[in-house]
């Protein structure tokens, strides 16, 4: 598979927070979820990729282009959706589009009009009068109308109702159908990633704590549920995290074989959701 985004040893320090040795690759034809709690460093990483923030060290290459030296060429091929659509809000959707379109070498008006219709966005309406969902749809519409090869989206589903979120997930799935495009999507709404993501990168406190193919990650982990009596201190080595209540214990293990041998039929085993993975990995850290 072709790599469309490669981040190597990215470091960025602030007074009270830092990104530490961020290292990952995104492949063509995939949706990669960038997961982490609020303040984990997702937006900071995305801003570094987009050269909105300057990294202290490391390298970033997207679509074979250096993100600083070939910034303009690269951004021509990126579909960028930020957490809050940044536009001149006094303008109408149509006016903003007319100002934005000429910047792109491959602006596709036909595609724009077709998605505009599909999203049912009113072109004559001012951007400031759009709802959060409509605003996000407009951002996605602009990102999808210039033949972008890599979509970088920062929390595109935050604040959207489940129906709009579902629509968005379908749009993203359709986007990668031709195997030529890729989506890099940051979110803390993990249910979206359960449905859409091929790969997952978990970030916590500025560090990647887990990454890989979603199915492989899920397959290599297990949620173990049982009574209090079953668990003792020595077993913590087999778990990423354990959640104890007065009557029962639940834990996420990355050593399926070992825990099945220990608990055998005395415990209940479940495939973890992305949310389980996020909770246990970020709780431990």
């Amino acid at each position: 598979m072709d790599t469309v985004l490669e981040v190597k040893q990215l470091n960025k320090c602030f007074k009270d927070f830092s990104l530490k040795n961020i290292d990952f690759k995104i492949e063509k034809g995939t949706i990669t979820g960038f997961v982490g709690p609020n303040g984990a460093g997702k937006t900071t990483t995305i801003k570094c990729i987009l050269n909105l923030l300057h990294s202290d060290s490391g390298s970033i290459t997207a679509l074979g282009l250096d993100h600083v030296k070939e910034e303009r060429k690269l951004k021509d091929k990126l579909g960028i959706v930020m957490d809050f659509g940044y536009y001149y809000e006094d303008l109408t959707l149509g006016e903003m589009k007319r100002l934005t379109a000429p910047f792109y070498t491959k602006w596709d008006e036909k595609s724009y009009q077709s998605i505009l219709k599909k999203f049912q966005l009113p072109e004559h309406k001012k951007i400031k009068d759009l709802s959060k969902g409509m605003r996000m749809k407009y951002s996605i519409l602009l990102a999808m109308s210039h033949d972008a090869k890599l979509f970088i989206m920062d929390e595109p589903t935050a604040g959207l109702d489940p129906i709009v979120r579902m629509e968005l997930i379908d749009i993203l799935k359709n986007l990668i159908q031709d195997e030529e495009k890729a989506v890099f999507l940051s979110t803390h709404i993990t249910s979206d990633l359960d449905k859409a993501a091929d790969y997952l990168i978990f970030l916590n406190d500025g560090k990647i704590v887990l990454q890989g193919a979603k199915d492989e990650i899920k397959d290599s982990h297990v949620i173990v549920k049982g009574s209090n009596k079953l668990f003792d201190q020595d077993m913590s080595q087999y778990f990423v995290g354990i959640n104890k209540t007065p009557y029962a214990v639940e834990g996420l293990s990355n050593n399926k074989k070992a825990v099945r041998q220990i608990f055998q039929n005395d415990a209940v085993y479940e495939v973890p959701t992305v949310e389980d993975l996020l909770l246990y990995y970020t709780r431990r850290a």
Partner: protein
């Protein structure tokens, strides 16, 4: 790509479509009420200074309000082009304002030739110096600090300059210098003024660009 610069200028001006007519209308009424005699040089300079201050602040407020730094820097443009586009937009508006001012002054002259003098083109170099000074104070400060801080600092610096100039003109040593320049031809003085404006502009562009290249959003 030069076209990106053109699109940026178009975007900058179009996004200010609400406030720009006010700036353009200002010099239509201004010469009728604020004038300093038949030549109206000071009147023009004050007009361009007021517009210069308000215009840049208008652009800066739009930046702050809509976080245009993020928006512009996610477009396929270079950061230097964003700065250049701002300069071009500012100077386009100054040019339009000057033309409107001259036309308004000419119209007033036709109506009341005994009160209103016709404007002389030789005031333009001085206007350019004023515009360049106002921009060189405001722009770098704005790109370092936020709008509130930079506006306060700009006002303080401008007042400082006015006080300094007033103080200089009260000194006896300034008289021979004024006499020296008064003896020179208008054309020569205008060339010097144009050179000063060009130097200030070049320094401002270079400094603003360097600051903006390092800016984080």
């Amino acid at each position: 790509m030069k076209s990106q610069l053109f699109h940026l200028v178009k975007m900058e001006l179009f996004s200010s479509k609400k406030s720009l007519p006010m700036f353009i209308l200002f010099p239509i009424f201004y010469p009728a009420f604020f004038r300093d005699g038949k030549t109206d040089i000071l009147s023009y300079i004050f007009c361009i200074a007021i517009v210069g201050f308000l215009l840049f602040n208008g652009f800066a407020e739009t930046d702050e309000k809509f976080k245009t730094g993020i928006m512009l820097n996610t477009l396929p443009v270079k950061r230097s082009e964003i700065i250049d586009a701002r300069f071009i937009s500012l100077y386009i508006v100054y040019a339009v304002i000057t033309v409107v001012y001259f036309l308004a002054a000419a119209a007033l002259h036709v109506i009341k030739p005994d009160i209103f003098g016709i404007m002389n083109l030789s005031v333009i170099p001085m206007g350019l110096v004023i515009v360049s000074v106002i921009n060189v104070i405001q722009m770098p400060l704005y790109y370092i600090f936020d709008i509130q801080k930079s506006r306060m600092m700009s006002i303080l610096i401008m007042f400082g300059i006015i006080i300094l100039i007033t103080f200089m003109f009260m000194q006896s040593w300034i008289t021979p210098i004024i006499n020296y320049f008064s003896a020179m031809s208008t054309a020569f003085i205008n060339i010097i003024l144009l050179l000063i404006a060009a130097i200030i502009f070049t320094v401002n562009r270079s400094v603003s660009e360097r600051i903006y290249l390092k800016k984080e959003f």
